[in-house]
């Protein structure tokens, strides 16, 4: 077998050289087959080994020499994929892909991603778009803060869910809130009952429901779900929070104008006012008791929110004359 000298002092036969050329030819032709032809085992091996060798040989210098800025590369790649025939974009992408295997693989992946998205276009659900745009209507800034809070909330949830000590602390805090809520409601029934007269706002109810559903599967946890860890523990805040939990009433800011008992009495007939007040107090006590009874139950599961099972409840004992139908109906 005739031996000839190539480079690096290696001797190869002409048969081998011919085979090398044939293999490299096959490499050049392979993409033109457009994926229909399965490469020979030899070509597959060449692709695999050469890719690895060239990658390892080129990786170290390229990473330190010419790392293309990702933003610049993205813009150039987008220009290429938009069929924008710009020489600069071509050069940028070419340079990046030649110097970095990661950039080359990323570009291939990006191309496949765009094709997949283009092949299965979908319309975003309107409610999701509205949710995204909702903060714009309320305020024009703060999207970053929101995102940060969301991330922190996620992390916090992860941390909290992994800590039983924290859970115990939260249960204890919830128990304390329940005690405060109970005493506050009794006190309020005796002092400012008209507050209880207001039916809950649907939005507030929905908020409570969602918080209960997502955060607190167990019985004592609905209170935890609404209690904000960062909220100042002022007395007014606690009472307001407790009030919102013991009854379906929304947690609204307590203002003097919202409480009839606090408003100056301007009517000329004190007896009529007294009669009205008495009736209002009775109604309020009845509804508050019914609501408190309801708050002790699991989350409402249907239309029997105040159904026949309420017969033995403290509410019915306190106000036996009040029929179930007299309970406040959700608006």
């Amino acid at each position: 077998m005739e031996a000839v000298r190539l480079t690096d002092g290696q001797e190869h036969s002409k048969v081998e050289r011919n085979d090398i050329a044939a293999l490299l030819d096959a490499l050049c032709e392979h993409p033109l087959a457009d994926g229909d032809a399965e490469p020979s085992p030899e070509l597959a091996a060449l692709c695999r080994e050469a890719a690895k060798v060239l990658m390892q040989a080129g990786a170290a210098p390229s990473d330190t020499r010419a790392m293309v800025d990702p933003d610049r590369l993205r813009a150039a790649l987008a220009a290429l994929l938009s069929d924008a025939d710009t020489e600069g974009a071509h050069r940028t992408v070419e340079e990046a892909m030649l110097n970095s295997a990661a950039a080359r693989l990323d570009a291939q992946s990006a191309l496949a991603f765009l094709e997949a998205v283009a092949q299965s276009p979908r319309s975003a659900p309107a409610h999701l778009v509205d949710q995204v745009l909702a903060p714009d209507k309320a305020r024009t800034t703060g999207s970053v803060d929101q995102r940060g809070h969301a991330t922190l909330a996620n992390v916090w949830r992860l941390v909290a869910s992994g800590s039983w000590a924290a859970r115990r602390w939260r249960v204890a805090a919830a128990s304390a809130l329940l005690v405060i809520a109970g005493s506050a409601s009794v006190y309020r029934m005796q002092t400012s009952p008209p507050v209880e007269n207001d039916a809950p706002l649907p939005a507030a109810r929905a908020l409570d429901k969602s918080a209960t559903r997502t955060e607190a599967p167990a019985a004592p946890q609905p209170e935890l779900a609404t209690a904000k860890a960062c909220e100042p523990h002022g007395t007014a805040g606690e009472v307001r929070l407790a009030r919102s939990k013991e009854s379906p009433e929304p947690a609204r800011p307590a203002s003097a104008a919202a409480i009839p008992d606090c408003t100056p009495s301007a009517g000329p007939d004190p007896e009529a006012i007294e009669a009205l007040g008495t009736r209002a107090r009775v109604d309020a006590a009845r509804r508050a008791a019914a609501a408190r009874k309801d708050a002790k139950r699991p989350p409402p599961s249907g239309s029997t929110l105040f159904g026949a099972s309420d017969r033995d409840s403290p509410a019915t004992r306190t106000a036996p004359a009040a029929p179930a139908a007299a309970a406040p109906t959700p608006r």
Binding site: L24, L46, C47, R48, P70, A102, L114, V117
Partner: protein
């Protein structure tokens, strides 16, 4: 590839200036695109919704700061799609750091297609169906090993998704190296037709029962599919050509490719039948040829033009011409011309030495 969306540069410019109306319009314009992208890389509607909210928040953060790199050359929505892809990749990586289970689900949903595509390029054909599945499994196991050590090695330079894909490609190559060298066809079988070789692989590598009807199911993608009679004849031909004493080779369940990093034999790899002297000669010749071809390519590449070099790199990655064309910003016809040019250059490089000239004269 034609840009799938119309650009809306005016809206983007206004949104970047802080125009609230333009920001809302741009958000709406991005919504369908983002939703489609999220649906592609999530497993359920609930996950898609969650991803949608996060990606849209990331897109709109700081007054669309992620879109500030847009330089006006591309379609706005093509650029946005690339940004959305980056945000989804970052999200998957962030989840990995926070919650392994959830993070892996997001990670796999995002990178699974890339992994499968790369595996399919290195293990093409019907015969490697099981190998591809094993490769996917092994790569996933290797990524998860040591608390995601490979993924955590990302140093923050360049694209994180590019880094991860690079890691994945190396793992796939390692896996394929552990499998294919041990799967060399016996010389007598290698001389047979493609159908014969496929049947041999199914019978002796995949351990499929020698029933023509069953084999036909595994060869359904062959064009044209063989008849049952032809398959029966093929089985007989393969058996007749089989080297004396050749044993069927068991398939392993999985290969620990993490061991391949340390150049150690893969755990679980089976012992193959001892090659005959003829096979040993062929194997050594093939190994030498491969080594020489790789080194020839290594020598030739620096002397090629950048565009030619890139073509070789993409060809080595197994990309077809229609995929190479958009990445190189060339029409497919130009890719064909480029291929011929590169072929000529490589032939020159291989044959440019004095000894080769002598060889040419001798021929």
């Amino acid at each position: 590839m034609t840009a799938p969306f119309d650009p809306d540069q005016t809206t983007l410019a206004a949104a970047l200036r802080g125009d609230a109306g333009a920001a809302a319009a741009l958000t709406r314009a991005a919504a369908d695109l983002t939703w489609s992208a999220c649906a592609c890389v999530t497993r359920s509607d609930a996950e898609a919704e969650e991803a949608f909210h996060e990606v849209m928040a990331g897109l709109r953060a700081d007054g669309f700061v992620r879109l500030k790199g847009y330089d006006g050359r591309a379609g706005v929505r093509v650029y946005m799609a690339l940004v959305v892809r980056d945000l989804l990749a970052e999200r998957a990586i962030r989840f990995l750091a926070l919650d392994a289970t959830r993070g892996w689900r997001a990670f796999e949903a995002f990178f699974a297609e890339d992994m499968r595509r790369m595996i399919a390029r290195m293990l093409p054909g019907n015969d490697h169906h099981q190998d591809r599945q094993d490769a996917y499994q092994s790569v996933c196991e290797a990524l998860l090993q040591n608390d995601l050590q490979r993924l955590r090695a990302y140093g923050g330079r360049g694209s994180p998704s590019g880094f991860i894909l690079h890691v994945i490609e190396n793992l796939i190559i390692d896996y394929v190296r552990t499998v294919l060298p041990r799967r060399r066809l016996p010389v007598s079988i290698a001389r047979l037709t493609e159908l014969d070789r496929s049947v041999f692989r199914l019978l002796y590598w995949e351990r499929i029962a020698p029933d023509p009807a069953i084999l036909l199911g595994h060869l359904a993608a062959s064009k044209p599919p063989p008849t049952l009679t032809a398959l029966a004849e093929t089985i007989a031909r393969v058996r007749a050509a089989l080297p004396h004493g050749y044993a069927a080779q068991c398939r392993k369940q999985s290969i620990d490719i993490s061991a391949a990093d340390a150049l150690m034999p893969a755990a679980g790899a089976e012992d193959f039948a001892v090659a005959t002297p003829e096979e040993q000669l062929v194997n050594s010749q093939a190994g030498r040829l491969l080594e020489q071809a790789v080194s020839a390519l290594q020598r030739a590449l620096p002397r090629l033009e950048p565009t030619e070099r890139l073509y070789v790199q993409l060809a080595l990655a197994g990309l077809p011409a229609r995929k190479i064309a958009p990445l190189m910003g060339l029409p497919v016809a130009s890719v064909h011309k480029l291929a011929q040019r590169v072929k000529g250059r490589l032939r020159e490089e291989v044959g440019g030495e004095e000894a080769v000239k002598k060889w040419r004269l001798s021929v």
